[in-house]
Structure formats: structure tokens, C-alpha cells
């Protein structure tokens, strides 16, 4: 299924040959500042992050801490100001091995569910229909078999995000960048989608960067949680969650979970004061 992409993903074989230990995502001294009418705003200040292949990390912090900015830099949607960024051994730019998911499902209302899922393939090789079978199996995987020919107004918010999930998985990306993908959904729908996301990531050993402001979501899903301070965005600390993947929702009722949540909270509050 990844056949049509293989030619464009040669980047992954390039690099300095450090082998399997090389991080999938790596930033050094990464900074970002904006020029505004009120002067310069430091969104990110010397961020250093390494994400190993197959790892799930969360970027957690209050709004305005620059975590979404960091994700957009990783996705190649905006430029860094200074420092280094490497994605899969190359500079960040939009490409098929990197999938990004936003808070809104962003389904096009003039397209059916299947046509929405096929959009990434259509933009790459212009022959979306070749991917139809894969799109349908992905829809089945996210629990929407039989919905291929419906339109988005027939779907609930959670179902729309499932379609967006199928869409981001179509080109089988190695890296998933998730910008609060389930943030607009109710708590129960969000949890079930979180669990599903972990299962998918674990099965296909995908590297996941999750941006969230939800401490529980971060603790439930992430192997490591980078806690950010607000403006300028700095990393206040990292919390490791050793529980093996994929996790179920029952993890959230364990003492280990509560302990990690407490650790994250104390980092968040210390960051807030500093």
C-alpha cells in the first residue's frame, strides 16, 4: 500500500547512518519569535526534544505556550527562527511520511466520507480511486464501515474526527503530529478515541507527537510528557510514564496514573510561577 510513496520517502534512508538509535524527531536550541505591532514575541525558547521511533510523546502546557507552534514547525507549516530541527533525518516539510491532525476534522462538505479520506492520495498522484480499497479498510478500522458514501452532516463530531483519523492514516505516515485532535469532543468520546489512537500507533509502530492541554489525556497516552511553561515557551520538565503500550482506559484508575498526573501538575504550576 505504501508503494506510491516509496519514491518520495527516500529521505528516511539518507542521513548519517547512526542506525536504529537515531531519533525520529530531534530539535536543538529551537526558537521561534514573531514580529508583531507590539514588538517581538518569543513563542518558543531553545527547545530540545528527541522522539524515538515508535514513541508517543505529549507536549503539554497552558494555551499560548507555543506547543502548537512547535508542532507546526515539525510539520513544516511554519519556519523556525533559529536552532536545529530534523524529522526522519531531514528538514521539516510537508510530506507523506508525516501526517498531521487538527482540532477540527476539516472534512469538505462537498465530498463524501470516502472522498474526504482519499484527499491526500488525490493530491499526491491524482489517482485517488486507486486507494479506494485502502480507504474503506481504514474506515472499517475506525468503526465507520458502511459510512463511505455519507456526507459529513450525517455524522456526529466524534465520527467526523474518526474520518479525519482515517484520512491521516491513508498514506501510512511514520509520524503522526496531533494538534489537540479530540479537544473539541466530549470527554467519553475523547477517551475512546485516545485508546483507539494508541492501539493504531502501537500496531503500526508509529511515532506520535500529541499536543494537548489535558493532563489526563497526556498521561493516558504518552510515554513521555514534555511540560511547557507559558510565554516564552520553554520545557519545564519531562515526565516518563513507563506503562507499556497500547494502554487501555483502565490505566487511568491506577495509583501509578494518579502519581504521574500529580507530577505533571506540579511541573505545570512551578512553570506557571517561573
Amino acid at each position: 500500500m505504501t508503494g506510491p510513496i516509496a519514491s518520495t520517502s527516500g529521505v528516511s534512508e539518507a542521513g548519517d547512518g547512526q542506525g536504529a538509535a537515531r531519533p525520529m524527531i530531534s530539535t536543538r536550541d529551537l526558537s521561534k519569535s514573531y514580529e508583531t505591532a507590539g514588538g517581538e514575541i518569543h513563542a518558543l525558547d531553545r527547545i530540545a526534544i528527541d522522539v524515538a521511533p515508535g514513541e508517543i510523546v505529549a507536549l503539554l502546557g497552558p494555551s499560548g505556550c507555543g506547543k502548537s507552534t512547535l508542532l507546526e514547525i515539525l510539520a513544516g507549516l511554519i519556519r523556525k527562527s533559529s536552532g536545529e530541527v530534523e524529522i526522519n533525518g531531514g528538514p521539516p516539510r510537508p510530506r507523506p511520511e508525516v501526517g498531521i491532525m487538527f482540532q477540527q476534522a476539516l472534512l469538505f462538505p462537498w465530498r463524501t466520507v470516502a472522498a474526504n479520506v482519499l484527499l491526500p492520495a488525490e493530491l499526491i498522484d491524482g489517482r485517488g480511486q486507486d486507494w479506494r480499497e485502502r480507504a474503506e479498510s481504514l474506515l472499517a478500522m475506525v468503526g465507520l464501515s458502511g459510512w463511505a458514501d455519507k456526507y459529513h452532516w450525517e455524522l456526529s463530531g466524534g465520527m467526523q474526527q474518526r474520518v479525519a483519523l482515517a484520512r491521516v492514516l491513508l498514506l501510512d505516515p511514520d509520524i503522526l503530529l496531533l494538534d489537540e485532535p479530540f479537544g473539541a469532543l466530549d470527554e467519553m468520546t475523547r477517551e475512546s478515541l485516545d485508546v483507539e489512537m494508541m492501539r493504531i500507533a502501537a500496531e503500526a509502530s508509529k511515532t506520535v507527537v500529541l499536543v494537548t492541554h489535558n493532563v489526563y489525556e497526556a498521561t493516558l497516552m504518552a510515554d513521555r510528557i514534555f511540560v511547557f511553561t507559558a510565554r516564552p515557551g520553554r520545557i519545564a520538565g519531562v515526565v516518563e510514564v513507563e506503562r507499556p503500550q497500547p494502554r487501555g482506559i483502565e490505566f487511568s484508575t491506577t495509583p501509578e496514573f494518579s502519581e504521574k498526573v500529580a507530577q505533571v501538575r506540579s511541573l505545570l504550576s512551578s512553570g506557571g510561577e517561573g
Binding site: 510539520a75 513544516g76 507549516l77 510537508p94 510530506r95 507523506p96 498531521i100 487538527f102 477540527q104 476539516l106 469538505f108 462538505p109 462537498w110 484527499l119 491526500p120 488525490e122 493530491l123 499526491i124 456526507y151 452532516w153 450525517e154
Partner: protein, 281 residues
């Protein structure tokens, strides 16, 4: 039109249940409208027959009806009808194409927008009918000047709405397209254009109605054929029932054109009406 009425009735009937409201509306609408028409016609007939209204000013409805029948049975009427219809349709199609092309150019290029902005503001403020004498002078008394008038009056809403649609595309959706390495052409054809279609079609609908206005105004100012010309002649000859009959025909023409474009709109921008429906459900 019907959509607004539906909403009002739904609002009033909310407590007795929307289904009952809908059924009631479906029955009362046509019956009430027909009843009102009968009342107006009978009242007009009686008022004119009893001399309350002067027949030179307001004709008897029965006279208007017989004028309508005799007008429709005369061959030369269809010449005039054909002339006006051609003016309207040619003007509307060309006006829509020009409005869309210029609107798309302005919607895509920020520089073009900056240059064109003062002209857009000036043209928006101009009552376009004042251009009619100018066009008659330039393009003569034939069909050309009316077509140009119809273009001038109908292209503008299409232009404005196309531009507004293209500049108003959801920035999040643009970000999604960029993250999928979409080319500028793909962003335009697969996102910007379809997402602008509801607004563009709203402009096209206004443009069609205005094209009719443009053609008739052009014919008023100077023409040798057309329903506007015929209206002018009958008015001058004090053939008041025929004036009313032609007016009724023009109204019918406007309604037919609007219904056709409404139908096309619902087919092309199918997701818009569906979204409205699910929003009211």
C-alpha cells in the same frame, strides 16, 4: 423565500410540534395566497366599476386579462419577447463569466485587489442604471446596448461574491491542504473554489434578477424592440390594460428565471441546503 416562511412558521408552531406546523403551512399557504388574489381582483373590479378608481389609471382586472390574452395571441409580441429574453440571457451569461473571472483574479491576488479596490468602491456606489444613456450612445439602439447594460448591472454581485468567497476560505482548511503538499492549483480547485460556490451562486442569483432590470432599463432609454420598448409604447398610447399585462408577463419571466437558477443552485451547491436542513432538524 419559502425558506424564510418555513422558519417563521416553525418558530410559531414550536410548542404544538414542528410536524403539525409543517402540514398546516403546506395547506394554508397555497389556499391563502389564492384567496388573497381573488379578493384583490374582485375588489379591483368593484372599485373601478363603481368609479371609485379611475379606469385610465387603474384598469379593471378583467380588461387586463383580456389584454393579456390578445397580447399573447399576437405574433409581434413574441418578437419582442425573444429580443428581451436574448438580451437578458446573453447579458447574464457574459456578466457572470466576467464577474467570476475578475472576482477570481482579485480573490487570488492580493496585489490586484489593492489596485482594484478604489474602482470597486466607486462602482459599488454608482447607480448602474445611469449608464444606460451612455451605452445607447456608444452601442446604438439595437440589442448590443441592452446586452452591455445587462452585463454592467449583473456582473458586479458575481464579482464581489466570488472575491469574498475566495478570500474567506477557512485558514484551517488551507493549513490542512498545505500539510498534504497540495499545489496552488489543487488548493484552488479542491478547496477554494468549492468552498466559495455557495457565495458565488448567491451572487449569480442576484445577477440574473439584475440582468432583467438592466435589459428593460436599456429598452426604456432607447430601443426599437423588446418588452420594455413595448411597455413604453403602450404607456404612451394610454393602453393601460396592456401596460399591466406586459408588466405581469415581465414578472412571470423574472419568477421563471429565478426558479430555474434556484434549481441549478440546489443541484450544484447541494451540501449547502443539506447543511441548513440538518441545522434546523
Amino acid at each position: 423565500m419559502t425558506k424564510e416562511i418555513t422558519r417563521e412558521v416553525d418558530g410559531q408552531e414550536a410548542e404544538t410540534g414542528p410536524e403539525r406546523g409543517d402540514r398546516w403551512e403546506r395547506v394554508i399557504g397555497p389556499i391563502g395566497a389564492t384567496f388573497l388574489a381573488v379578493v384583490l381582483i374582485v375588489a379591483g373590479e368593484l372599485l373601478v366599476a363603481n368609479g371609485v378608481l379611475n379606469e385610465i389609471i387603474v384598469p379593471r382586472p378583467t380588461h387586463v386579462l383580456s389584454a393579456l390574452v390578445s397580447t399573447l395571441s399576437e405574433g409581434f409580441f413574441y418578437t419582442h419577447l425573444w429580443v428581451t429574453t436574448s438580451e437578458v440571457l446573453i447579458g447574464f451569461v457574459l456578466g457572470t463569466l466576467i464577474g467570476f473571472s475578475v472576482g477570481a483574479a482579485l480573490g487570488i491576488s492580493r496585489r490586484a485587489r489593492a489596485i482594484a479596490y478604489p474602482y470597486i468602491v466607486a462602482f459599488q456606489g454608482l447607480p448602474k442604471v445611469v449608464l444606460a444613456p451612455l451605452f445607447i450612445t456608444i452601442f446604438g439602439f439595437g440589442i448590443e446596448s441592452k446586452v452591455v447594460m445587462a452585463i454592467a448591472i449583473s456582473f458586479f454581485p458575481v464579482l464581489i461574491n466570488t472575491m469574498a468567497g475566495l478570500t474567506g476560505v477557512d485558514p484551517q482548511a488551507r493549513r490542512l491542504m498545505r500539510s498534504l503538499s497540495a499545489s496552488d492549483w489543487h488548493v484552488f480547485t479542491k478547496l477554494s473554489l468549492p468552498s466559495s460556490l455557495p457565495l458565488i451562486f448567491a451572487g449569480v442569483k442576484t445577477g440574473l434578477t439584475l440582468a432583467l432590470v438592466g435589459a428593460i432599463v436599456g429598452e426604456f432609454v432607447g430601443a426599437e424592440r423588446g418588452l420594455g420598448y413595448l411597455l413604453d409604447v403602450y404607456s404612451y398610447q394610454l393602453e393601460v390594460p396592456r401596460v399591466w399585462a406586459i408588466t405581469g408577463i415581465l414578472a412571470a419571466m423574472g419568477v421563471i428565471l429565478f426558479l430555474v437558477i434556484e434549481w441549478v443552485d440546489r443541484k450544484v451547491v447541494f451540501w449547502q441546503s443539506r447543511r441548513d436542513m440538518s441545522a434546523t432538524m
